[in-house]
């Protein structure tokens, strides 16, 4: 057994094989991206523990993630917010985590996508489970997991074939599991969710931008619309009573310690907006939430500056529009006095 030769052959072939694999996926349009996973979220969540009264924390689902651009917000308000919104989740578990496990009393902006916000309070059901997992992970993460996350950055930033999505179901998974998922033989069970392509990129501080292809390629945008349609048809009825009461309990505690809570309804358009109006009419859901929480709320339809946008896939703003939306929103909030610029005041 000549292990030295075997080792040299193994190293050389592995290098060649992986370089070819990388080259192939780059030629297919893939590029290195970060995974919006629980580790990335936890790094931002840690900032809340040390945050001051002047800080701003963003909670919500993907609309807050896409639509609020951290650079523009910082330019306008002098504060760089902590981005804790998570795609496809309800903000209630993260809000409870901050209320119960920190003494933070600065500003929290909670994005309200009614179909997610009012969905459920059952801990194991989607869209709650993923948000809860992230909050739990933050408190339980080990030093090994922290180190692993830091070590993964150079690889994620440089290798396209390592594209990975914590959220299962993306059709763009090019790891072995994802590739095997694409193999279909027969039709033994019903087709599930339509192919769901990644349409955003996230930075280390979780600032997220819609991919330009979503704006320029209508066919691509339509694949995302189909996914919204699937969720619209298959999601269980909203549970307004439980979710409202769960949230109000935390609102009361947060306000009692001097916290500044702001609710935000980001834009949606087309079929998505129509569907939302049917299952969660503004008057019965948004207006009632604002009234019961007794906090300042911003609904995009109530402001001309915020309702001028067209969402390419009906639910999120393009990177360009998101920058404008953020600037306008920050201006309105500053004007209303719900936000202050600590650098100028």
């Amino acid at each position: 057994m000549n292990l030295k030769n075997s080792f040299l052959i193994a190293i050389s072939l592995s290098f060649l094989g992986l370089a070819s694999w990388e080259y192939y996926w780059r030629s297919q349009g893939f590029y290195p991206t970060l995974d919006d996973n629980k580790d990335l979220w936890a790094v931002q969540r840690a900032k809340v523990d040390k945050a001051s009264k002047d800080d701003v924390v963003l909670l919500g689902s993907s609309r807050v993630l896409f639509d609020i651009q951290l650079d523009e917000w910082e330019k306008e308000t002098g504060t760089r917010p902590v981005q804790l919104a998570s795609a496809g989740t309800t903000p209630l578990p993260a809000f409870r985590d901050i209320v119960e496990n920190t003494d933070y009393s600065g500003t929290i902006i909670v994005g309200v996508t009614t179909t997610l916000f009012f969905s459920t309070t059952f801990p194991l059901a989607p869209p709650w489970d993923r948000a809860q997992t992230r909050a739990d992970f933050y408190h339980k993460r080990t030093y090994a997991q922290r180190l692993n996350h830091q070590l993964s950055f150079p690889l994620q930033k440089n290798l396209a074939f390592l594209v990975s999505f914590e959220e299962k179901g993306y059709a763009d998974e090019i790891n072995l599991k994802g590739l095997l998922k694409r193999v279909k033989i027969g039709s033994r069970i019903d087709e599930g969710i339509p192919p769901f392509h990644e349409f955003s990129d996230i930075a280390v501080d979780r600032n997220t931008k819609m991919r330009e292809r979503t704006v320029t390629d209508t066919a691509f945008a339509n694949t995302i619309k189909k996914v919204w349609g699937f969720y619209g048809q298959t999601s269980p009825p909203l549970d307004k009573e439980s979710t409202m009461s769960f949230f109000l309990e935390d609102v009361k505690k947060f306000k009692a310690r001097g916290g500044n809570l702001i609710l935000l309804r980001c834009p949606s358009t087309g079929g998505q907006r129509i569907g939302e109006s049917v299952v969660s009419p503004k008057l019965q859901f948004w207006d009632e939430l604002i009234s019961q929480a007794n906090v300042k709320g911003y609904h995009f339809e109530d402001y001309e500056q915020l309702s001028q946008f067209n969402c390419p896939e009906w639910s999120h703003l393009s990177a360009t529009d998101a920058a404008i939306f953020t600037t306008e929103l920050a201006k309105i909030m500053m004007k209303d006095g719900v936000l202050t610029n600590p650098k100028t005041n």
Partner: protein
């Protein structure tokens, strides 16, 4: 250096729980030294009991505290006493079952004067803490490991490279075979909460069967490989168990370090085969029930152990009353039958509740004719193919070893195989953070 690295390794998970390791180390080091010089039998027994009390006390509290409380509550509630304690929510220290059994083996061997005490405290501390096998074994006996620490070790180039090969093989088993090809199907089936179709139930069970083997054998192979790169030799923990000819053979091949521990420190002290057949069966069943409980604080694990005990007793009865000669042909049939029976036990091991396990068994026996289909056709084919290849490989390899095969293989073939494993592993990526046996 190795000792410090081992503590850092364990501390990366939960630093305060290193204290448990220290206590365990101190207690057994002190006990070992006392047993080495103490001649008074009563005092020797007291020292042994002290070690047992501390080690098993920790294990009982941390691993079985919630389980005991839940069962106690159920019992008192059933007799009409309204008692609803708060859950204790105890953290299970990673690998506690492994290092507890390892330190206990040292003390018991010292008690029976089978070994000499460790030369220095640091050697003994490293024996308890040696990082490659600390959290999931193999459970190594003192005579096999401590003596290797007495002089500075440096791996030869051959050992180092073979260690790297074993590390690659172990990771390949874990990342590709267990996590990528099998775990999804097992999770979907056992987590579906539905009454399933025959094919789905069998696919889920077979997927778990393969997953747990590749996961655990993968870890053991990694541990052996890492230790070898440091010049330390650890014993084998698996020898192609799915080609076992019966259940005695299975337990000589599956998690060897645990089964030999249970044999030497539980089954034999319980009487073994020295006090007649009935006593032997009782000892066998008790050993397997406790072996089941070792794996996890739940009745499903105890049933898993009980089933293995039952199979072992049946096998002994068969050997006594209807013996037959094993040939190549009936051997394969016997191996297949053993593997099928093992799969039935895995259902109880994997299911979180009896209801799930029972429904799975019914589906596997064609009793749920209207069971739901939840798996894609490709998933079923994938699992069946992987498990068929696994079974055939175990059959072919049952009387040899990876090293023997590698020695007969041309260097370039070994190199290409090695590269294929590295490439597929890199493509698979794998984001699993745990090995299944870390929780035991």
């Amino acid at each position: 250096m190795l000792l410090l690295a081992s503590y850092v390794f364990y501390g990366m998970w939960n630093p305060p729980l290193i204290i448990l390791l220290w206590i365990s180390t101190m207690v057994d080091w002190t006990t070992g030294n006392k047993l080495a010089v103490e001649e008074n039998q009563r005092k020797r027994k007291m020292w042994l009991l002290l070690s047992m009390f501390v080690n098993l006390g920790f294990l009982s509290f941390f691993k079985y505290g919630d389980f005991f409380l839940a069962n106690f509550t159920a019992i008192v509630n059933s007799v009409g006493i309204d008692f609803h304690p708060q859950e204790m929510g105890i953290i299970l220290p990673m690998g506690i079952s492994f290092y507890t059994f390892q330190t206990m083996s040292y003390t018991i061997d010292m008690y029976y004067k089978k070994i000499k005490p460790a030369k220095t405290f640091l050697d003994f501390a490293l024996y308890v803490t040696f990082f490659p096998q600390l959290v999931a074994g193999p459970i190594v006996r003192a005579k096999d490991l401590i003596t290797q620490f007495y002089e500075p070790k440096k791996a030869t180039i051959k050992q180092f490279l073979w260690g790297l090969f074993l590390l690659t093989l172990g990771l390949f088993q874990k990342v590709v075979l267990a996590d990528t090809l099998l775990s999804g199907t097992a999770d979907d089936v056992f987590g579906s909460g539905k009454v399933l179709n025959f094919w789905d139930a069998w696919s889920g069970t077979l997927a778990f069967s393969g997953q747990i083997f590749f996961d655990f054998a993968g870890y053991s192979t990694c541990a052996i490989g890492i230790a070898l790169t440091l010049g330390i030799i650890l014993p084998d923990n698996f020898r192609y168990p799915y080609a076992s000819l019966g259940f005695s053979d299975l337990w000589d091949r599956w998690h060897i370090s645990l089964s030999s521990w249970l044999r030497d420190y539980l089954y034999i002290p319980l009487g073994g085969n020295r006090h007649g057949i009935t006593r032997m069966y009782v000892a066998l069943m008790l050993t397997m029930l406790l072996g089941g409980l070792w794996h996890g604080a739940a009745w499903t694990f105890i049933v898993w152990g009980g089933l293995h005990g039952f199979y072992l007793i049946l096998e002994k009865l068969q050997k006594q009353y209807i013996p037959f000669k094993i040939t190549a042909w009936n051997g394969m049939f016997l191996a297949f039958t053993t593997f099928t029976c093992v799969n039935i036990t895995w259902v109880f091991f994997r299911a979180r509740e009896f209801k799930t396990a029972w429904e799975m068994i019914k589906s596997m026996l064609f009793l749920n004719t209207d069971g739901e289909k939840i798996l894609e056709q490709f998933d079923i084919i994938k699992v069946m193919t992987v498990i068929a290849v696994l079974f055939i490989c175990h059959w072919i390899m049952r009387n040899t070893s990876v090293k023997e095969v590698a020695e007969k293989t041309p260097a370039w073939v070994l190199g290409v195989s090695w590269a294929v494993m590295i490439i597929i592993m890199s493509i698979a990526q794998g984001n699993s953070e745990q090995f299944i046996y870390f929780q035991f």
